[in-house]
């Protein structure tokens, strides 16, 4: 029924359609998300910002098929999401590495679970680890790595299956400012090379603007789409250029006012 979506363009295409999510609680139903409509084009980089408790993570989990919407649906490449999708790579707030596995084995995990730990896939794992700059740490245990390096392993683990969509839930929120900046620059480089669709949840407005093509601003409970901002800053972006650009500060101000 989605013939017009087509193979090529459809793979990374996300449609969020009338999405509402309510949770039952003792004090009655809590509405976490209310009537979200949003369309994300293939290869687009979308940032989601909003105050804590606005349901950013819930929205991402619905897109990822980890939780089911109460009303409405999410479609990926035209297919309704009912369970985790193999075309999606997930990066969580914490790196969530298995401490008993070495770095390379952690990146091989998606293949092992899928029953395909082939030498070809091993080569892919080595390749993404090189891409995130960890070629010298293949045999290290996660406990021996810094927080930034751990999160890079988790990015590599998400990228290794060559997902058409990358869902990132405040992935660099726990890192110090400097590490986060360099991770953001690397992420843009990787995104540019891999051309996946990225949905990036953050509470940092500057981070969202630096990374995204569009930023979705969400209101606090119930979470609604309050504003959608086109970030017309030229790419490739560097922090110096972006922060020297008048438009960056104007957009930042605009989002900040809406969040208050």
């Amino acid at each position: 029924m989605n013939d017009q979506t087509g193979e090529l363009s459809g793979r990374g295409h996300i449609e969020i359609d009338g999405l509402t999510k309510t949770y039952a609680s003792d004090a009655g139903d809590i509405t976490a998300l209310q009537g979200i409509d949003f369309d994300i084009a293939p290869r687009e980089f979308v940032g989601i910002v909003g105050p804590s408790g606005c349901g950013k993570s819930t929205l991402l989990r619905c897109v990822g098929g980890l939780i089911a919407p109460s009303v409405g649906e999410v479609r990926i490449g035209g297919d309704v999401v009912t369970e985790p999708d193999p075309r999606i790579g997930y990066v969580f707030q914490q790196a969530v590495l298995l401490p008993w596995r070495r770095v390379l084995d952690n990146v091989m995990l998606p293949f092992e679970i899928a029953g395909r730990p082939t030498s070809e896939n091993r080569a892919k794992a080595l390749e993404v680890l090189q891409m995130v700059g960890l070629s010298d740490y293949l045999n290290h245990r996660p406990g021996e790595l810094s927080g930034g390096m751990q999160q890079r392993v988790s990015v590599a683990r998400a990228l290794v299956v060559e997902p058409s969509i990358l869902l990132m839930d405040e992935p660099f929120g726990a890192l110090d400012a400097q590490t986060r900046d360099s991770m953001n620059v690397e992420l843009l480089r990787i995104w540019n090379e891999s051309q996946t669709t990225v949905v990036f949840v953050t509470h940092d407005i500057g981070e969202a603007l630096f990374l995204s093509d569009r930023v979705m601003v969400m209101s606090v409970r119930p979470g609604r789409v309050q504003d959608v901002i086109d970030v017309d800053l030229p790419r490739p972006r560097t922090f110096t250029e972006v922060e020297a650009d008048e438009r960056f500060w104007t957009l930042r101000q605009r989002i900040r006012e809406q969040l208050n």
Binding site: L66, P86, Q94, V96, L98, P99, W100, P110, R141
Partner: protein, 271 residues
């Protein structure tokens, strides 16, 4: 040389020294105290040592030690496997947990040594009742710790496995079971010591061989010296079993985590 220097500079040598000094003091106190008593009440350390060397050296101790070791190992293995198996079932399936737990609580409330006489009536004076008691008593810590280790797997890890579309079995074998390893090992340690106690106490109730039986025999003949010989043998046996456990634990941990050091502490597991 460098290691020696580091040793001398650390607190380790002071600790060792204090252990040795206090042990000597204790033995001297035992010796002095024993001299004021009849050897029927408290034998002196010297004669106990002589008797021990003679008893072990002549090979007369071997059948007793061998029997008790078999009871401990068999009981530990059976109770341990049952505990790990049922603990895993209980953590995997809500219905299994609901069925298993009431039984577990009842069997725990029942003092297992109280069963020893009926087990002797059913199974005789051989090894069987002792193995059963040791197994029953080793079962609980493993059930508890296996269940605890499996169910405390961080939610983020489980979510990762869900996002990667892992099935129940894969999640168990690649994630939860490995997360449970330290908890299971601490259960194994407790179970091993309890299995020793279980085997010996069960021997008290009726046995013709074993270190517990030896204690009862020496009580009957007022051979307190022999009783102390059995105490020493039991203590050494317990220490060896604990060392064996520690060795396996370290081997497994090194294989899993590279070392039993910083990472384990980072994971919140006391080493």
């Amino acid at each position: 040389m460098r290691r020696l220097l580091r040793f001398l500079r650390s607190e380790a040598w002071l600790g060792r020294l204090l252990v040795i000094v206090s042990a000597v003091v204790l033995i001297v106190v035992w010796h002095l105290w024993a001299r004021t008593n009849s050897p029927l009440i408290l034998p002196e350390p010297g004669p106990v040592l002589e008797r021990l060397l003679d008893y072990v050296g002549s090979g007369r101790a071997n059948p007793h030690i061998w029997i008790t070791v078999q009871e401990i190992v068999l009981g530990f293995a059976l109770g341990g496997l049952a505990g790990i198996g049922l603990g895993t079932l209980a953590s995997e399936f809500g219905i299994a947990r609901r069925v298993i737990m009431p039984y577990v609580i009842v069997t725990q409330a029942l003092p297992k040594f109280a069963l020893a006489p009926i087990l002797v009536i059913w199974f005789g004076f051989g090894m069987t009742p002792k193995v059963i008691i040791a197994a029953l008593i080793a079962f609980f810590p493993l059930l508890e710790n296996t269940y605890l280790g499996l169910t405390t797997t961080p939610a983020e890890m489980l979510e990762l496995f869900r996002a990667l579309r892992a099935g129940r079995w894969t999640t168990l074998t690649k994630c939860r079971a490995l997360h449970a390893v330290p908890a299971v090992f601490s259960g194994l340690r407790v179970a091993l010591m309890l299995a020793l106690v279980g085997a010996v106490v069960a021997e008290y109730v009726g046995a013709n061989k074993g270190l517990g039986a030896l204690i009862i025999v020496s009580q009957g003949t007022l051979d307190t010296e022999l009783m102390f010989v059995a105490f020493v043998q039991l203590t050494v046996l317990g220490l060896l079993l604990d060392q064996a456990h520690g060795l396996v634990y370290r081997l497994v941990m090194r294989r899993l985590y590279g070392s039993v050091g910083a990472e384990m502490r980072a994971a919140g597991v006391s080493v």
